[in-house]
Every structure is written in structure tokens, then in C-alpha cells.
Amino acid sequence: MVGIRHGHLRPGVVIDLKGIPDLRPAIEEAEGEFTISANTVMTDLEEDERIARHFPALIEAARVVGSVQIRNRATLVGNISNASPAADTPPVLVALGASVVAWSTRGERTLPLDQFWLGYRQTALQPGELLTAVRIPLPRRPAGSAFLKLGRRRALEISIVCVGASIELAPDGAIAAAGLGLGSVAAYTVRASGAEKILVGARPDPEVLAAAGEAALTAATPIDDLRSKADYRRAMVPVLVSRAVAAAVTRAKQGDRQT
């Protein structure tokens, strides 16, 4: 919309997806996963108690997208499709193992979110395809998630670095599953697979979190831009990753005690 308003984008046709009944705002839980429809706006997510309970990081990320005015119009699926490397919700969705549903008259396909972006502002969508929903699997073990964003101010800020972390704990307290998404440090939102590998099977001790933070750097290829230097971004990735994992672990333990 900003692009159209400024005249940078001059589309021949604009289709208002809000007029399509099948895509109406909906957050549904079925068969071990949540499905969030294309027209679900950030405010809908913020006000959903199930999302707050299962995926607190997603609420944390949704709450810092623009202003209330923006969040009343901006959809989760739109935040994904826009393919901005600095978007807030994608690192969390990658961490949570989300997938997206792409629909066209040829049929429907589901692809893992971390395979959706192909390059800077490039997506795997084919001509004639549109995203109709995002799916997030429910964790099967005690789980916690967290989102951390580094910026110069708290509101209406585009991240210098942002991190989504999701952790599942085994009964013995070791990390059974880990998801980590990084924003603003590559051409698109990336998964920190190296860090995830270090975490899985380990106990969440400070040395392990620090090692995971360092390992996350292998996924980061930051650039200098008006918000930050690449060096500063590289310096901050380990810090934010280890803090986000620690916060997710704390939540996983708290959730475990409550149930």
C-alpha cells in the first residue's frame, strides 16, 4: 500500500483478498496444528488467548509490527509474502516450524516457511499462486518460545537484528527440539540450523547457549545499511540468540509446572 501510495508500485490490477469469504479472518486449531487464514490481522493474533498460551513469541513479534493502526490492517500472511528480510513475525514462524499454504487454480501445495523465500524480496510463489494460510504445529512436549528485537526505539521500529526461538524440553531437562529464526541479518529470514544442532540433546547451560549463539553466525550474512553496520549485527547475533533461547527455556519450564 505504501508503494502504491508513493507511486513506486503501479499495479494494473489490485485484488482485495478481504472480499473472499474463504479467506476471512480465522485462527483454527485442529489435528495438532494451528491454521491462520490469509486475512487474519496482527490485532486478531494479539487478542487470541490460545496463540498467547502456545506461541507467546508470535504475540511478542506481532505486537511490534508498526503501530496499532498498521496492526489493524496488516496480516500475518502479508508479513510473510512481503518477503522483507527485516520483518518481525517471520523469524518466530521459522522457529516454530511453520509452513505456508499456496493456492492456485492448479491446486494447493504446502511448503515449509524456510523454503518460501528464495532471495531478497523473492518468494517461491508461482504466477497465479497466492498464500491462503500459515500453519503452525503444536509442540508435543513442554515448550516455550521467545522473540527479541534490537532497535533504537520501542515502537514503529525496523529491526537491527531480531531473533525468534522455540524450545521443547525432554523429561530429563535436556533440549529435545530447537527452532531459531534470524531477521535483518541476511537477504531474507533465515534458520540458524547450526545453532539448533548444538542445542538439541544438550542441557540449556550458559556455555551451551553461548556456543549456540556463536554457531548462529554461520547463518548470518549481514550488510551495512542505514540502521546498522554489518559488524554490529554480527556482534549482536550471539547475544540475542543466547538470550532468546534462555527466555524460551524459562517459559518451557514454567509451562511444564502449570500443566
Binding site: 501510495r5 508498526g66 503501530s67 496499532v68 493502526q69 489493524n72 490492517r73
Partner: protein, 152 residues
Amino acid sequence: MRLQINGRPREVEVAGHEFLLDVLRDGLGLTGSKECCVEGECGACTVLVAGRNVNSCLVLAAEVEGAEITTIEGLGRDGLHPLQAAFLDHAAAQCGFCIPGQLMSACALLDRNPRPTIEQVREAMAGNLCRCASYEQITHAVMDAAAGTAGG
């Protein structure tokens, strides 16, 4: 097409690329909503669509056909709205340019959350910039309106 504005149906001729703000200001003469940053930072163009505050400079008029739209002109038509009274009490308006947008965001907040904390007010109003920096006065005016102590 038909727009429902401040409780009244209005017939307007609208091109597909026209934004709600321009239709309000140029088509309907409702100039209370202001054009300023035109990219969703400042909030001067804020109106309510189905009770939720939005930046009317970033909403195509065609998107809101049939939805209930409230602009600053629709606020306090039977005397001052409590928020308007509170803004006066606190002298929250200096140059006044941002105030219609500030009032619409405050209105949307109090409709959803009648007794917000001061932190919630600050958070909810973060999308409305004031170049005169009347933030303290504005925040306290909203708190007073919520407490029902304005206009006394």
C-alpha cells in the same frame, strides 16, 4: 459506491486507485483527517473502520465499501466527546494538526479497553506522532477521559 460515514450513507464516485483519505477530504469535504507522512508513521489521517483505528492514507476506498467509518467529524456530535473535553482540560492541542488522529486512536483504545494503564495508553498511541511533543498532556488527557473525570 456507497460508504457509511459517521452514521450516514454517502454515495461517492471512486476510482479503483483512490485512497480513503482522499475520498474523505476531496470527495466529501471532511478535512478533519489530515494528510502528512503518507506511509503509516504519523497517524494524522487516523479514522475508525468498524471500530478499529486505521491509517486512511493507506486504505483504498474500495476496501471499506459498506463498513462503518468514523472520522473526527463524527466524534462528539452531541456536544464534546469526553476525550475532546479532556484534551481541552489538559491543553493537549498546541498546533492541533495531529489532534484529530490522536482523538481517533484514543477513541478506539477506550472502546476496546475502557480503563487502560498509562503504559497501555502510550503503546496504543505510539502510531500518532505530535511534532509539538504534547505527549504528556495527550497521555494524561486520555487517562482522565477513561477515568470519567474530564470536562469538570
